[in-house]
């Protein structure tokens, strides 16, 4: 570029800057109100280029008087003095020659200066497969799952999925078919350039532009005789992402990012364009090029990935409507404090407390799986005790009751797969008995896990040993253990390193090696099995090379001083010591998060059994505080539930206000959840006064008490999403609402028969000589768990009068109530 054209360029750039800045101002009225910019900030501060020709991006942020940050990166004017660097595309700076200088950045009438240094290049730049070529292949899509990264490769050329195995990919490119894919004698003729540039036919289409910088990098690599690179030098060890947090004051704003990779040798490189960006909540925040755009009010996490490393950037888009005033609500415990802290920052006003009836229905369902009896509701609503104390007492009563133990036996039975299919009929009952007793005794969670994981002997004599029947074999036991007790899904890593996580295939087998000595053999009685420790053939061999794998903890923190080896027979005590240690970063967090999800519409991390760095909690402080409190109370599950249910956040109404109606992840109001299959069946039974038919169960058993999914298989419970206890996954229980559900309730015989049963609630009430208004009130209390409003009362009374018989009119009313959201949902 000669000096004249550079001047023109600068002038045009300046013009664009002016237009763009006024554009920002003009946009103010429609999307929020950014104030006058007071200061410019440039990131990263102090640019160091390792050689001429290198490109690095800068971010320019304007800061308003009110502290609002506006991304001006794309509208900025840059004045590179001294010819050390020049302005490249997309506000990149390109190093021109060795030296040091200061670069002036201008935007919005302000300017800022940054220091820039260009180091000398030691000869020609070294291009390696690890550092240069593999990232390009990943970026342009060669190793995608649908292309050469498929398990069988594509068209005879196979790469590892998303390039997780650099060594394999290198060999595949170089050696497969005698090195036909590169051509050292005439590098531009190389097949690996001709194919993606479509100079020859390529099923994957055009992937590289001839002469692009990627093209040139690969060409340079071939010219330098295709070196692999040195993992001690060229491996990426970390990413730096700017900005570390993105906070937009209105939808419609955007923010560019800069990604810098740090290599094992300490050097860095700008990899913004090669990084993969993903938004966890695409409805609120969309990825656009090398940045994000706020679509609507909400939150998201921007995941930035590059060569197996990743970083998370929280992104928030605020509601720009004027008039928000934070109204403080009472805070009952630390939960309220931590939830409020985030809500206030996000300009979300939480809803107030639910009324007593709403609270009692919710807390009964959440702690016992049952709706309250009409008498209980009347008594609770009329009790003049101060609200908070009254509710706290109700919580204690519920936890002390048998219904609590029944309900949590069901929940734990789901997760631990208490199922005659795995455990035999007697084993399943034995296990259920043991589980029920553990819950009634409020056995500390760590003790429960220890008993399960270290169990051995007869499954009839030691019920906990049944755990190893539903999780048979070393890999299944390991996958179950990690998913249930750590919330970590390891299954992807069985075949290849986890694509979005740090877990490797080696770690998968190292963890499984803790269980490889466990054997199961038949016992004396029919169906009895014995869990024992094998003396021979008790090691685990790596599928890749057949070597014996030594057990190793997923993360070192919390492990005992000596880790068992493949020579030790029982490796489980050490595993449990590590698992239940307070240093273990997953154990307490996984369970408090799981329990939290039983009291709200979602976990603080969701899904609850997929905890990973790329799936961060919506409120880290809250999760950390709950986990710490749980540990400090010796893993007491009842204490945890008390803490949650006594919070204002839990007791908040489901009714939203104008400031929190978009919020579905910060617990500013309760969000209705459909009743679980068993709770729904029991609620219908309570409301109609007709027992829910359960084959093979004694008469006084409710649906919540059913021991396994073989009872009533294929019936109402399965239709409404009862888990089949085949997977150790929370996702097995479905709580969706679909047409078959509606049809069953509207037209199905279960509801119709129960409503009109001669020994049912309506018949009894009429027999007792209740008045019309008593009838209407009772029916409301037994379904919606609240008295009718005066309008509801009037409508209902009018209907009863109109009907041929009182019974028929009351049946219509009950049927309508059972089909209403107020009944079907826990809200």
């Amino acid at each position: 570029m000669n000096s004249k054209s550079r001047a023109t360029c600068l002038w045009v750039g300046g013009l664009m800057l002016a237009v763009a800045v006024s554009g920002v101002r003009a946009g103010d009225r429609s999307a929020g109100a950014p104030e006058e910019i007071r200061e410019l900030q440039v990131q990263p501060g102090g640019l160091v280029f390792s050689r001429p020709g290198e490109l690095r991006r800068i971010l320019v942020t304007g800061i308003s008087a009110g502290g609002e940050r506006l991304d001006l990166t794309e509208t900025v004017g840059i004045d590179p003095q001294g010819g050390i660097v020049e302005l490249g595309p997309d506000s990149y700076l390109r190093a021109v020659r060795e030296g040091e200088t200061r670069v002036t950045v201008r935007a919005g009438g302000h300017s800022a200066e940054i220091a820039v240094r260009v180091d000398a290049s030691p000869g020609s730049p070294r291009t390696t497969f690890l550092r240069d070529v593999l990232p390009i292949m990943n970026k342009v899509g060669c190793s995608q799952g649908v292309c050469h990264g498929a398990a069988k490769g594509k068209n005879g050329f196979k790469l590892s999925l998303r390039g997780y195995d650099a060594e394999f990919d290198y060999r595949s490119l170089l050696y497969d078919m005698s090195g036909r894919r590169f051509n050292r004698a005439d590098p531009p003729q190389s097949l690996m350039l001709a194919k993606p540039t479509q100079q020859v036919a390529h099923g994957g289409g055009l992937r590289l532009d001839l002469g692009s910088s990627y093209y040139k990098s690969i060409l340079a690599w071939i010219e330098q005789e295709v070196p692999f690179g040195d993992p001690e030098v060229d491996r990426v060890v970390g990413l730096e992402v700017h900005p570390g947090e993105i906070f937009m004051h209105a939808p419609g704003r955007s923010q560019q990012v800069v990604v810098v990779a740090r290599y094992a040798d300490g050097s860095t490189r700008d990899v913004t364009r090669e990084s993969h960006l993903g938004s966890s909540n695409g409805e609120a925040v969309a990825v656009e090029g090398s940045g994000v755009k706020g679509i609507r009010t909400g939150e998201s996490t921007l995941m930035v990935r590059y060569e197996g490393q990743f970083e998370m950037v929280p992104v928030t888009v605020l509601d720009p409507s004027p008039g928000f005033v934070w109204t403080a609500l009472p805070q009952y415990n630390q939960i309220d404090e931590l939830v409020d802290r985030k809500l206030q920052r996000l300009r979300i006003q939480p809803s107030p407390l639910a009324d007593d009836a709403e609270f009692l229905r919710r807390v009964s369902l959440d702690l016992t799986g049952r709706i309250p009896e009409p008498e209980r509701i009347r008594a609770f609503v009329q009790d003049p005790t101060e609200t908070r104390r009254k509710r706290s007492r109700a919580i204690d009563e519920l936890i002390r009751g048998q219904a609590y133990a029944d309900y949590w036996t069901l929940k734990w039975g789901d997760l631990l797969r208490s199922n005659r299919k795995f455990m035999s009929y007697k084993g399943m009952w034995t296990f259920r008995e043991w589980l029920g007793q553990s819950i009634a005794d409020n056995k500390p969670y760590d003790a429960l896990v220890r008993e399960l994981l270290t169990a051995k002997g007869s499954t009839f004599e030691n019920p906990a040993a049944n755990f190893f029947l539903s999780a048979r074999g070393a890999t299944a036991a390991m996958e179950t253990t990690t998913q249930l007790f750590l919330g970590v899904r390891m299954v992807c890593a069985q075949c290849h390193d986890h694509p979005f996580e740090k877990w490797t295939q080696n770690q998968y087998f190292e963890m499984a090696a803790f269980f490889s000595a466990i054997g199961v053999r038949p016992g004396f009685e029919s169906g009895e099995e014995v869990v024992y420790l094998k003396r021979v053939d008790n090691d685990l061999k790596h599928p890749k090379d057949g070597r014996v794998v030594n057990p190793q903890f997923l993360v070192p923190a919390g492990g005992p001083s000596s880790i068992p080896s493949a020579a030790d027979r029982d490796r489980r005590p050490a595993l449990v010591e590590w698992l239940t240690s307070r240093e273990n970063p997953f154990f307490a967090r996984a369970i408090v998060n799981r329990v939290w999800s039983y009291f709200f519409h979602r976990g603080i991390i969701s899904p609850v059994d997929d905890i990973r760095a790329s799936n961060p909690p919506v409120n880290e402080a809250l999760l950390a505080a709950l986990a710490e409190d749980f540990e400090n109370h010796d893993f007491d599950l009842q204490h945890l539930m008390r803490t949650i249910t006594n919070s204002r956040v839990y007791q908040t109404t489901f009714r939203a206000n104008r400031w929190n109606r978009h919020d579905d992840r910060n617990f500013s109001h309760q969000i209705p959840r459909r009743l679980g299959a068993e709770s729904l069946a029991d609620a219908i039974a309570l409301a109609t006064g007709v027992r829910f038919e359960l084959p093979e169960m004694p008469e006084d058993y409710s649906a919540v008490q059913v021991p396994d999914p073989h009872v009533g298989k294929g019936g109402f419970l399965d239709l409404f999403g009862r888990p089949q206890r085949e997977e150790p996954c929370e996702c097995e229980r479905r709580s969706d609402v679909s047409l078959p559900h509606a049809l069953n309730l509207v037209n199905g015989p279960i509801l119709a028969d129960a409503v009109s049963a001669p020994e049912g609630r309506i018949a009894t009430l009429i027999q007792q000589g209740k008045s019309d208004s008593q009838l209407v009130e009772d029916l409301h209390l037994s379904t919606l768990s609240r008295p009718p409003t005066s309008q509801e009362m009037q409508v209902a009374l009018a209907h009863l009068k109109r009907s041929g018989s009182r019974a028929a009119g009351a049946q219509d009313l009950l049927w309508a109530l059972l089909n209403s959201n107020g009944f079907l949902f826990n809200r």
Partner: protein, 462 residues
């Protein structure tokens, strides 16, 4: 090749008026006919060739070449020069004839379609420049770095070692005393080399990846190319000669095994028994049968004259890359991805048992990397195996015992050859260096880069 040359002239001629028209009149001309090579072909390469390429031929249509575009596919000729309205290619691009192309994607821009129309209207001229090789016998390739070596062969008299180069075969004196000649051809890569038993002809099989395959027959004495036959859309693999030297067999990327006559270059046989690329072939002792191996895991035995399939010699395990036959018996060794050389007889034994590989004589020890090359010594007593493991191992054929290991290589070995005298073994591959080892001990005797490097040439110049 007088006919070919004439053809080239004609093509050049046809292109002349268009080019001149565009240049002379410049912007005054309202509609300059677009160029096939500059305007049309890149669009086709970008949007159409994924499906309409020789390897896939959706709708029996191949759009990679002007000739096949004109010919069209299932639905008729691709276009009618001079009449865009009746040309199928255009009707399917602008949606008049469903399905809209490119299939599943958005329609091409109006301007692009207009360009196609204008080109067809102008008679759809082909202005592809004649591909002039950048090298010729008089101007052999200039190397800045050594190309990988994919083929080695000793002449029957043991005097010459033929080595594959880039667009050429280099003839070295086998004793390492120097370069005897350079046989420069069209193909970028030479995948295999074989001398006829009389030593007069050198057959070379290769091609340019993803473009074409080529058989070259060189007169060894005069260093002249006697004949070139281009076949297939990719390089040829595993060239082998019949025992009498009259026929040549090879494998192709279209899964075929083909046999051509050496004297005429004519195709004698094309079989279609494999399901993936065929990478190796070998005739039986009497030349009546042939064994071929490929990426479909199979070692297939078939009649060399009728092409009839006889049987698979092996249990299908993993991809096979190489096959060689014992010099005096109907027995072959195959190897590939699984790293184990398997030794089979071509005839079934009298007693066979269900579930057993009756034809298997021995599985040799597992190698340290995938196998790319296998060869028997001339007396049939020794077997050399090499591959990605960057070493070659010599075995005693009768006992299966390891006799020697040839180490010191830094990367994969793609090819090897026993000297007819039986004392030396030549190895080469990724590194681009030829290494000669002593067979008995595995010791490295000498090594050299077979191509003249630019720096050396500059240094040797006065």
């Amino acid at each position: 090749m007088p006919l070919k040359v004439l053809g080239c002239f004609l093509l050049a001629w046809a292109a002349v008026p268009v080019v001149i028209g565009a240049d002379e009149t410049g912007e005054e001309q309202p509609a300059v006919a677009p160029s096939y090579f500059r305007d049309i072909r890149p669009v086709i390469q970008q949007h159409c060739q994924g499906c309409h390429q020789p390897a896939i031929q959706q709708g029996h249509l191949d759009l990679t070449q002007y000739r096949t575009l004109l010919k069209g596919g299932h639905s008729g000729p691709g276009l009618i020069p001079g009449d865009p309205d009746r040309s199928l290619l255009i009707a399917m691009m602008d949606g008049r004839r469903p399905p809209l192309m490119p299939l599943g994607g958005p329609a091409l821009d109006r301007e692009i379609i207009d360009k196609f129309r204008a080109w067809v209207k102008a008679g759809a001229p082909d202005d592809t420049p004649v591909q002039l090789g950048t090298v010729s016998q008089n101007e052999p390739p200039v190397y800045t770095s050594a190309p990988v070596i994919t083929a080695l062969a000793y002449s029957p008299d043991g005097f010459l070692l033929a080595v594959s180069g880039y667009r050429e075969v280099l003839l070295h004196r086998a004793d390492g005393s120097g370069l005897e000649g350079r046989l420069v051809g069209l193909s970028d890569r030479i995948q295999s080399l074989a001398f006829t038993p009389d030593g007069k002809t050198l057959a070379a099989g290769g091609g340019t990846p993803a473009r074409f395959g080529e058989l070259q027959f060189w007169d060894v004495a005069s260093r002249k190319l006697k004949r070139s036959v281009t076949v297939c859309q990719d390089t040829l693999f595993g060239v082998s000669l019949s025992p009498d030297g009259s026929r040549v067999a090879f494998g192709c990327s279209d899964s075929t095994v083909r046999i051509h006559e050496v004297s005429s270059g004519k195709e004698l046989l094309k079989t279609n028994h494999h399901e993936n690329w065929v990478l190796g072939t070998r005739f039986g002792m009497d030349g009546k049968r042939i064994v071929s191996v490929g990426r479909d895991f199979a070692a297939k035995l078939m009649h060399a004259e009728s092409g009839a399939f006889i049987e698979n010699l092996n249990k299908l395990r993993k991809e096979l890359a190489a096959v060689t036959r014992h010099p005096s018996r109907d027995r072959v060794v195959v190897g590939g991805e699984e790293r184990i050389p398997y030794y089979y007889r071509m005839d079934r034994p009298k007693k066979i048992f269900a579930g057993q590989e009756g034809t298997l004589i021995r599985a040799f020890e597992r190698q340290s990397g995938e196998i790319f090359a296998l060869e028997f010594s001339a007396d049939g007593r020794k077997l050399a195996v090499a591959g990605a493991g960057a070493e070659a191992t010599v075995y005693d054929v009768e006992s299966g015992q390891r006799l020697a290991a040839c180490t010191g290589h830094e990367a994969g070995i793609y090819t090897l050859a026993f000297h007819p005298g039986g004392r030396e073994l030549a190895l080469a591959g990724f590194e681009g260096r030829v290494r000669i080892h002593e067979v008995a001990s595995g010791k490295l005797l000498r090594e050299f880069v077979p191509v003249p490097m630019k720096a050396e040439m500059a240094a040797s110049a006065p």
